[in-house]
Symmetry: D2
Subunit: 351 residues, 4 copies
């Protein structure tokens, strides 16, 4: 009920603060007899790790994952899998001077109001660092869905207003922004550099494609698979919008254009984004999410302190300029977790 667990069959519970002893995750409901090693998980974590690029925070965590339970002889046993990632490069004193300030765009103000207490160091529980635990859980979920031939790919669709227009999926792996348009990627890098110099930050749009998903996943009414995907993605701190298939665009189409007509060979179009009435139809699932710019900026901003007095703030810690591309593996993880959960839910009622 306190929101740190997601999923109904394949469940993921994360814990930990940015500057506590460690962060971690308990994955429960994973089927037995699936090969799983720390190495598998580490590969995914490394994609999310800071310290790789000009847009990323200079904090250099190793993000070394340890498996503490649920694995025997290299295989899952059906019991809960506990993963831990120790916090190593913690410099909490960086945060001492903003201890009593509410950083604009952050959860400082709302955590204080909600709980009457908060761990201010590095954003505490609200830190982006919590998403490392999600990525680790996503690695396990990936094992579950890959067995069925389902894959999830996220990429940079927009950054700082620059749009990937000539989309060539192979380009994705040729630039560190995972943008499928090399020219756009170059312009995005320029925008990032510019923002950094201005002490400012940028947002963008991430595209996500799920391939190989069988029809039938998703539950009618409240747990439609698009509803669960929307929730999972909106639960990433930076996300302010989500659309499925033609999304907001479909609101401007007539039905005769928006409906995906059906032929014996399949759907003629995919405005639905692979989901009809909340259930997958076998086509690719297409999602786009809007990420707001990073809230921590050097530029001076007005705020108040815990006593309610007006103050100005300039945040000079180790912060990214844009959540992209580090958010990409997080998006993939969240979508993968939702799919693994619905895949197992489907099995419970159909055999």
């Amino acid at each position: 009920m306190s929101g740190n667990t997601t999923g109904k069959v394949f469940t993921v519970t994360t814990w930990g603060e940015s500057h506590g002893g460690a962060i971690g995750v308990v994955v429960d409901g994973c089927p037995p007899n699936i090969s799983l090693s720390e190495h598998d998980i580490q590969e995914d974590l490394d994609k999310r790790r800071p310290g790789h690029s000009p847009s990323a925070s200079p904090r250099t965590e190793e993000d070394r994952v340890e498996i503490l339970s649920g694995i025997f002889d290299g295989k899952t046993t059906g019991t809960p899998i506990s993963l831990i990632i120790k916090n190593k490069d913690v410099r909490s004193s960086d945060y001492d001077e903003i201890k009593d300030l509410f950083r604009p765009g952050h959860g400082d103000f709302t955590y204080q109001k909600k709980y009457g207490i908060r761990d201010h160091r590095g954003g505490g529980r609200a830190s982006g660092r919590e998403t490392a635990a999600r990525v680790a859980a996503g690695s396990i979920a990936k094992k579950v869905i890959n067995r069925e031939g389902i894959t999830v790919t996220a990429f940079t669709h927009e950054l700082g207003g620059i749009v990937a227009e000539n989309i060539t999926m192979a380009d994705m792996n040729r630039n560190r922004l995972q943008c499928p348009d090399m020219k756009a990627a170059e312009k995005m890098e320029e925008k990032l550099q510019e923002a950094r110099e201005n002490g400012d930050s940028l947002g963008g749009i991430v595209g996500i494609i799920v391939r190989g998903c069988p029809p039938g996943l998703g539950e009618p009414v409240f747990d439609k698979i698009d509803a669960d995907l929307a929730k999972a993605l909106m639960s990433i701190g930076t996300v302010k919008g989500i659309e499925i298939g033609s999304g907001f665009g479909s609101s401007q189409m007539p039905g005769s254009e928006c409906n995906d007509q059906i032929t014996p060979e399949g759907f003629m179009t995919n405005n639905a984004g692979g989901i009809l009435a909340g259930i997958t139809n076998g086509d690719d699932i297409i999602i786009r999410i809007a990420c707001k710019p990073i809230s921590s900026i050097e530029k001076s901003q007005q705020t108040i302190d815990s006593g309610g007095n007006p103050r100005t703030i300039s945040i000079t810690g180790r912060h990214d300029v844009c959540v992209i591309p580090r958010i990409i593996p997080v998006c993939e993880a969240m979508v993968t977790i939702v799919l693994a959960d619905h895949l197992l839910r489907y099995r419970a009622i159909r055999t």
Copy 2:
């Protein structure tokens, strides 16, 4: 796990098919000693009822709600409240000729794939009629949040590409589309008339404002209140996109513009849409959702039958041209249910 229940403390379970004996809802977890009558609920249901306007289906259901449990001497008792709405104006034979066809844009295909059986009459469980049960539950949720001074208002922001630009909230009640821009409302009506004549349908965008919400609602991590709102709204069949505050627009802003700076008098802007780190900040909650055009159209479309053979289909039953404005009370209900749930969840840990 089968997705017919939403909420963790204030829970709502709907049941029923479009052409079965009745539809209904069980609301559990409602605090005791709240006044509640059938009349209260009926008022909200009447707003969603078909048969009122040129854009709506000519099916004339009374949608008469009965309270079967949970009320004593006009007050809630803390036990489950069961509501039933009988299906009266059912003409299932209308659907006989499309029994074996998969209507484009509908759940026919996916329900068949998921369950291997489906009630084809009027869309069965996937029918928009199920939302009457949500509206009824929303009436009860409204009692819970109104006590705390919270109100929810939805309105037509776009329809068929026409945008409400000169927004005057008072205009909302002066046109049946609940559009806060009278001029836009007139153009929208023209678009609706045109679509009807073409045997086609339209989509649009609904805006939602929550006023009077205290700070502190929403749980960190997976059950952020924006995540739960996104799920609740995306669970309405027609919704293909959702944004909170500046939403997709915020992806193009620099941080210095997007962050809502704070003064002793409050936030200077509301790009966050009233939610920071998944927790309400006391400002208005601002949401926009994209509705696709109605799937049932008279215009001829290609499809297949249950044997996989190519067919054409023209749907001539009693259908709306646009989900707006009938979806408006449904949006209000879903948002209200989420707020009631989080309000009670908040109480469990803070007193």
Copy 3:
């Protein structure tokens, strides 16, 4: 969270008060394509119905069940199954004079303390009548487990201190108390008659056997199948004790006697009652539950009224003398519901 729902995959939500318009149940998560008719359910309900025997209440409800959703062409569709049983023979005025009194042994006092309001008529939500909804849900669960060859049988093991000693299961169907020892059954009837004449009531012990259950059902740790069975049975108002296999007796055995040794042909004994470490082992599941005597008695008792003043009370409404045998189908229903749920849970992770 409010306790009116049980199960995680196969879920059962009951609603309704003894003297409201109706009682009912929503069964969600039932697999599709299972034949189900009102007649199937009615048969089970008839076993629980009052008015059949000297130990039972003279209230003559028809307990006529109606299926309102989830069935199409005589088969389950995978959507929620809503069942309703109207309250017909309601004489609420019987309860007027005890409106302000707390009946000893009843929930009057605790409901009032918990909610600050209660429906006093016939016990309201705490009435045994609520169990009719459980029996109806159990009929559906029975369809799910019978397909796998699992059956559940409950019987009278003790009543008013008389113990069934020479157990011949076939005898069960030869007496209305469903006691597998004809001689004991006769003595039990004498005890019942005596209690009735004294304006008093009796308790007893119900035995339950599950046959044909495959190994592997039950989840480790908190959702052990014996834990879920204990909860399900203890949730029946009258139950004050439960034991699995040798139960309390096993606390007096040495390990060398209590352990069920294993041979290639199977377990040599069944002290475990078919459950090891919370998971079924393939042997019969053996359960015994203790039922307290009916609380409503004619004999004068001391109590207080809602103002806290001392009063005496003599309850002369239409009440059973003993919950046995009417509780027998309720016990079967609860065990069946738990098994159906765990059967489907098992499928989610093993295929």
Copy 4:
């Protein structure tokens, strides 16, 4: 759904195997601003630790708990509290020779059947060691209920057939068996010595008293507080029976004796064990549970190996002779967790 989590508001998720890297627990839903230190938890863990007495296993774990999250400045923050206890004194090779044998009375057979794989070392997930995580969680729950004046005490009521008859609660702390009858305690020790010499084991009965519980805790119907207590206690591996108040004894009483009559000063008796219709009535909650004898014994027993061949087994590892008294803090923990959960659930609907 996989049974490693309990509670609805105050939730406890345990993970870990006996011979893995560590065991641990995530406690979510704990209210903020409660003082909590590792020392508080360690005190409770030390009571459960092996190596203290002739009845206990000579395995000498330090059971040193570490708090990894959820605490700031010595207080709970409302975020998940992650506790870890490293496994140190692990001698997995002790188990090599029984790797392919199913130990009678253990979960070896059922885990293998359920998952097709199992961690055989020290019982893996089914080990009693998992209960250390429960005790640690119970320490936190204790903070929640103690604030409201509620306390939980468990004691040895029977052991090896010896019954505590002259109960003097103060005696409890004068013998290591926590038996409130010194004479009985001495005879119990003799029985333990005897069983040890015979290579055998013993069971017993634990009594539990909850004092200071306000009326109103517990939910009607399925989540009655006695149902939740029964589940929680039955989920302890060794428990085979549970009774509330007069329990099985009440099945032999007439209603006129069993009903607890009410006076302005309170209930005249407490056969109900403090619970009416599943809701606490303000009186002490009285529970008794039956513990089977320890399954691991040196005495030779028949069993089969994983190939189905007949074998004999004599278990000579480091094992307790009786779960009492080590189970006592586990019982207290489980009851405390249930009470903390229901206390917070109550707050959600009543303020």
